[in-house]
Symmetry: C2
Subunit: 135 residues, 2 copies
């Protein structure tokens, strides 16, 4: 239907306390500490009017293998397909976490803990439907 290449543009970086993969909690629910999402200045105007109390954060697992289609699901040890788990090992290594917004700054968001390495590339931010503050 299209021949356009599907190339993503980095729009910012995520700042967490985790400097190695071993440091990272497994899943955002286990990440207690807050994370800071820093937009590249060129993309910061996209934050205007953000009043959502929750956002979907899309980020890029650049170190994840992309040729894995099945493996062992960590939480229950079942061998299953990558679309039956949220592991970073998948054909398109986009991570997705729904997190609570703690503060909105001019070029950054402070959110509940994210499970990724410090410096992880930000791909997108979307407000969660229904989780909007009233103006």
């Amino acid at each position: 239907m299209t021949d356009t290449q599907m190339i993503l543009t980095p729009i910012g970086r995520i700042r967490t306390p985790y400097k190695t993969l071993e440091d990272c909690p497994k899943g955002p629910g286990r990440a207690g500490q807050e994370a800071r999402i820093e937009l590249d200045p060129a993309f910061a105007p996209g934050l205007k009017g953000l009043t959502a109390t929750e956002v979907d954060v899309l980020y890029w697992f650049d170190r994840a293998p992309r040729d894995v289609l099945q493996s062992v699901r960590p939480h229950d040890g079942v061998h299953c397909g990558v679309f039956a788990m949220r592991s970073p090992h998948r054909p398109n290594p986009i991570a997705l976490s729904r997190v609570r917004v703690r503060a909105v700054e001019e070029t950054a968001l402070v959110v509940d803990g994210l499970d990724c390495l410090d410096g992880t590339i930000l791909v997108d931010l979307k407000p969660v439907p229904g989780a909007m503050l009233q103006k």
Copy 2:
């Protein structure tokens, strides 16, 4: 932190009743009819063991402009940034819908309505945490 290009791989297509952009409902909540998510055969093994009752579907809006950073938010007419709305017009035109699973087939999923054109490129599927059927 990395020089790797962030190139996505199409993993399947979404089948909906909508043949033109005008036909598409605005937002998945308004799409009453079911959609069919067809995996490319090479990626179908990734569905093994999928028992989630809800999935996050990531797809690609190949016709959306990518240079828009602010516009008018459809539901309330407020001029705001693209990260304050879920419009397809954004630097990385990945759409994300959380939908209920109606059936899992060998190479396809049937889900509640999606708001996209018939033939839309599938990027990823992730089970929603906590929305798992017991084995």
